[in-house]
Amino acid sequence: MKKVVDQFTVVSTIPYNSTNYCITLKSHSPLEKIEAGQFTNVEIPGNKEVFLRRPFSVFEVDYKSNTLSILVKILGKGSKTLTEIRPGEILSLIYPLGKGFTLPKNNEKIMAVGGGSGVAPVLHLARNSGLPVDNVQVILGARSSGDHIPVDHYNQWANCHYTTDDGSKGIHGVVTNHPLFNNLNEFDRIYACGPLPMMKAVAAQAKKANVTCEVSLENLMACGFGVCLCCIEPTTKGNLCVCTEGPVFNINDLKW
């Protein structure tokens, strides 16, 4: 698959709350095709302590305007620097990277579960699943209502459900406390991206119900395209690079 290093202009940096931002970027060249679950490795300008790029799942893509967006959660100096970038500045992106989610077949019913900035690839998938709205259930988990990003417009592609640790929006508890988990056999596929404990909890439920499940991992990586061998995940096929063999893995291949 063709991968590129391209210059993008920052169109907007929208803060959703104190730690979550949506950054929209416009490519100087026609956008390459990007699958749900694929990611981009973004160069962080203007901070001498940040040497390497930072990987982000692609959130929304608009081929007409040549724009894509990423969700950035401030976790350290790299992500912090990125959220301080202004519209008009130029960023270098390597993309499209990794293998995306396996798309559902016609008429299948899917559940897509996202937590934290893991909602980005999950919503990307929900929007592009090709399924009728009622076949797509999305569960978004967060600590509190203020941590949920505004995704009301996704109701045209999916039924969105919410959970919060403090009960301030949707179901009180973690994603697996949502009642939809009581009838997992209704689903043909489950997808998840978010904090590791969340994905492991979803995977355990999926395994118990014997439903196909894919998760998207975010191991620490240097290159993002398979040459440094740093982001390995132990799998049934040996140590595999998350950046090229993933980030999406079928849970049956993982040693969880």
Binding site: V5, E49, F51, V227, L229, N239
Partner: protein, 303 residues
């Protein structure tokens, strides 16, 4: 038209910019981005006699102007390389160089014997400087007798260009360089990574699963440059310079210090096109300085 080609004791390079071992896979990942015939050579990912899973995760940590790694020579072994990887890459129009590793001298020799007959492998790099494996690796590269021994034994079974990759984790790198030159090495490449360490102050835990790992990137460039200068003054064989090269200016500094060719490593993680940008930048520099041949730059430091 400037001449960028160099010859490292029989290893003909169309230009003096190669990609460093462990930073460019087997070339295929770079070929996803561009035609690899534009680089002077590809140092393939280090191979060993048997399959190695490498070290546990986490294997890397960012540092100011660089990074630590502890990959630990993950590879599927020399037979897998010969049967599955070599056929896919052998027709790349650039010089392919195998990076050979072992935990014993016998293993180094056995791997070398297996790759010696591969037509499209132009040379080998004997790696006696990997800091991330428990046995072998750097242990061979930090004393003159062991460096001499492994070089002598490998030399006996390898007729093509033999490059020995040196560790900077020694008191006097010129002594090791002279030792391997004395045993028939055609060239030395330096430096491999510096042994380093990172700690997460909040959790009080090491950043790498192996606690220590190899430091690379621009952070090490001045030390690498100094070592290349010292070694090129101490030996007669050609020296290949590497360590933190990010752009053409960095590469030219290594030529001036005495390197006949350079390798680009960690920079590729930032941008896989950097080796090509460096080739273009060297060409521009030569035009600007009215130089016709890259060899006019080598060892051209003026004091």
């Amino acid at each position: 038209m400037v001449n960028l080609s160099v010859n490292i004791k029989g290893l003909a390079l169309k230009n003096p910019v190669m990609t460093a071992s462990g930073c460019s896979g087997f070339g295929e990942e770079l070929a996803d981005f561009y035609d690899v015939s534009q680089v002077g050579g590809i140092l393939l990912k280090g191979i060993t006699l048997k399959n190695r899973d490498g070290n546990p995760y986490p294997r890397m940590a960012e540092t100011p102007s660089g990074m630590l790694n502890a990959v630990g020579l993950q590879n599927k072994g020399v037979d897998y390389f010969i049967n599955h990887i070599y056929p896919r890459i052998k027709d790349y129009d650039t010089s392919l160089i195998v990076n050979v590793n072992g935990s014993t001298v016998e293993e180094y020799v056995e791997v070398t014997e297996k790759i010696a007959g591969l037509d499209k492998i132009a040379a080998m790099e004997l790696n006696i400087s990997c800091p991330n494996v428990k046995e072998g690796g750097m242990a061979f590269g930090v004393s003159c007798p062991s460096a001499e021994y492994v070089t002598r034994e490998v030399r006996k079974v390898y007729p093509k260009t033999l490059i020995v990759k040196l560790s900077p984790n020694v008191t006097d790198v010129t002594e090791i360089a002279k030792a391997v030159e004395g045993q028939g090495a055609d060239s030395v490449s330096l430096v491999n990574t510096f042994l380093g360490m990172g700690i997460d102050a909040e959790s009080r835990k090491p950043l790498l699963s192996t606690i220590t790992g190899g430091l690379s990137g621009p952070a090490i460039k001045p030390i690498a440059l100094r070592m290349v200068w010292q070694v090129s003054s101490a030996v007669k064989i050609p020296v290949i310079g590497l360590g933190g090269i990010m752009n053409a200016t960095d590469a030219i500094e290594f030529f001036l210090a005495g390197a006949s060719a350079v390798q680009v490593g960690t920079a590729i993680f930032k941008d896989p096109f950097i080796p090509i940008h460096i080739v273009d930048g060297i060409r521009d520099y030569m035009k600007r300085h009215n130089l016709n041949d890259i060899t006019e730059l080598i060892g051209g430091l003026q004091m």
